[in-house]
Symmetry: C2
Subunit: 456 residues, 2 copies
Amino acid sequence: MLQLDFTNAMAARVGAHGLTEDEWTSALGAALPAYDAVEKDAAAGRLGFRRLPAQDTKSLAEYARHTASLFENLTVLGIGGSALGTTALASALLHPWWNFAAPEARRAPRLFVLDNVDPEEIAGHLEVVLPERTLYNVISKSGETAETTAQLLVFVDALKKRLGDRWREHVVVTTDPAKGFLRSLATREKLASFPVPPDVGGRFSALTPVSLLPLAACGVEPERLLAGAATAEEKGRETAFKAAALYTALYRKGKRICVMMPYARALRDVADWFRQLWAESLGKRRSLDGREVFEGQTPVKALGATDQHSQAQLYNEGPNDKMIAFLEVGRFRRPCPIPPGWEDDTSAFLGGRDMGDLLSAEKRGTERALTANGRPNLTFRLEGVTPETVGGMLHFFELMTAYAGRIWNVNAFDQPGVEAAKHATFALMGRKGYEKLAEEIRGETPAQEAVKLEGF
Amino acid sequence: MLQLDFTNAMAARVGAHGLTEDEWTSALGAALPAYDAVEKDAAAGRLGFRRLPAQDTKSLAEYARHTASLFENLTVLGIGGSALGTTALASALLHPWWNFAAPEARRAPRLFVLDNVDPEEIAGHLEVVLPERTLYNVISKSGETAETTAQLLVFVDALKKRLGDRWREHVVVTTDPAKGFLRSLATREKLASFPVPPDVGGRFSALTPVSLLPLAACGVEPERLLAGAATAEEKGRETAFKAAALYTALYRKGKRICVMMPYARALRDVADWFRQLWAESLGKRRSLDGREVFEGQTPVKALGATDQHSQAQLYNEGPNDKMIAFLEVGRFRRPCPIPPGWEDDTSAFLGGRDMGDLLSAEKRGTERALTANGRPNLTFRLEGVTPETVGGMLHFFELMTAYAGRIWNVNAFDQPGVEAAKHATFALMGRKGYEKLAEEIRGETPAQEAVKLEGF
């Protein structure tokens, strides 16, 4: 299903910035107890995401088949973990121009993921994607997310104005099975709803109804995604653990940045999903035993071949502070033959080949240049792009992140660093209970002489 | 037009990771000769991008009005500097859901920017965006870009099959005025074409026909973009210089990563465009005097409020190795009122406010948390989003990059580090003249025992 090739992360290939055989052996050895600790947690049922492959998706699949398919549009209201997995899976598994395809070809709704509160974006969406033809899937694990609640208010109001009481048929809720505002709203208003397991964190929730529902509505069978995850769970743990040890060893050697660079449009948003997973799980001020560590490797999303014309100069010649992880597919799902060119050096050699050949050659060229410049790099190669392999890949990266958390001795499952901004936002918006903080913030205006302002 | 507020980049606000008044004064002083050097180059006519505000765009505007508007679609074929500026300007200045708006509302073509060679993406585009209703704007400064040439071959073949000799009416070329494959093709086949000034590099070319033409075709007047650039050229140099000195001083204090985080959907792709500008211009192995320096600050694109739910944890608690630059707009172009909520704490406080208030409060909350955590941050505030302000903003960042190049003592206008991969790609694709390199590459297969492979 998935291969990890890290030949070019070794000192034998990239010199001092790679790992020697000894360094690699000792990194693996040092990491082993973390593997055992994670497996112990999993066996004791403490890691919710590990149980996801065994989910029952029958009622979800049925709802998707019968209800969601009645709509011209499916608009997801969600942010962060409620949006990124869906975008990653949709980019991978739907037609690359899904929302532009003819309805007969698509035979499922257009899919929009609204993961922000920009007024121009939301008001524009309302104008262009008609509520009376749209199903809104409002998603928040806690059921308390301010951005998502604000979106919901806007769209429910629009639905009520057009459809009166029938607005309820246009909203499906995905949230905690028992707690939170969205759950009580769903119960009170008798809205269709699906549960997010309480012990699965937002960034580990792609393979819950959070993404399974919108994907199922677009024709991707949840069973197939979960079958792939089951394969990763069963057979991929060792590779995931080694990948975690490898990232750790390179991080400790000064690779403060990890680039993920898919050479396949299908996988482009996997890199964005991974960005949340890796940053939120490992970016931590305190270790598990409470020491200040300020750990964190900064994940960067890039895209081959596009970013060869944007970031490759820096990756090759800038500070050697990065590791580059390519994502590659074993085969593309369809060819795009390049017709014979004109009779000149620039175009002739391209004719008769396929776009896929060119993209693969670009990847090999980039890999070779980075290696020659002593920049450690590695490749995750997905056999092909199917619901099984992509489901497996997401579960694989989640395993890898869980192992890395233990190796780093940080809590991979919390996010204490986002609370302060959230509370300040509540205070600034006048939420009840935040009056004191609001006053505090008003008092914080920097003194006139401290303000640094330039402009024209 | 544009304000830079860097109050929160100073030690008075963020402690040891910010700049003291002395550090700032001496950074500015040390940078001053670079300002003079750049201005001397500009005065001597050596900086092509500085002359762009004075361009004559009459024939381009006329072509756009009369020709481009006849098509249902405009598809740009280009990569890197031929694509990023267009995407940034389109996101800022067209309707946020432009391609989904009703044709009567849009009164201009849908706009697609194809900046990759993925076979699934290109073949899918052909299927969904009909060539007989599409104008292809093929863009390459050199006229020799392999990816763009491959795309052109595919689309010209499709046009010929459908339209015979009339394919020519569906292609407009933007390239060097005299040299390169695309220019000779345009001349030989009598294709409509526009020039890219030879002394303006790809990443500085947004305000040339490269982006002016597609934007004009979608109804954005080139004159207005250039008027804004003229304002930046005339009045924004000092601010741009100070911004360059500020970025430099923070980089030297260990901020190896600069995040650009727009809190406005309109500006989201300005961050991606800036990513190329900053990375390719400053990521350099050698200084102007030939020493090995391996300079480069890694630009990262983020988006508020979305990335608060993905990257904020890392930015607040991870290593203090970043500076965060917010982009903000003084006012949004349209409101999106949040209707009264239900009677509960989660939704009630949102009702009666506007989405724009929420987004602004999120920005202030994030800024406050970062500042409290000692993370230097700053804000570029654009008065409003118009062709003038956005054109001015791009020119402003180009000025800033040119000054930074001189301060860093690197060549901000070349990109030697991308040649190796390009040549390897040619060799792997069998291009004439690269036979020896191809053989070399074939000989480079790592020894069996060096290969590191894991998988399942």
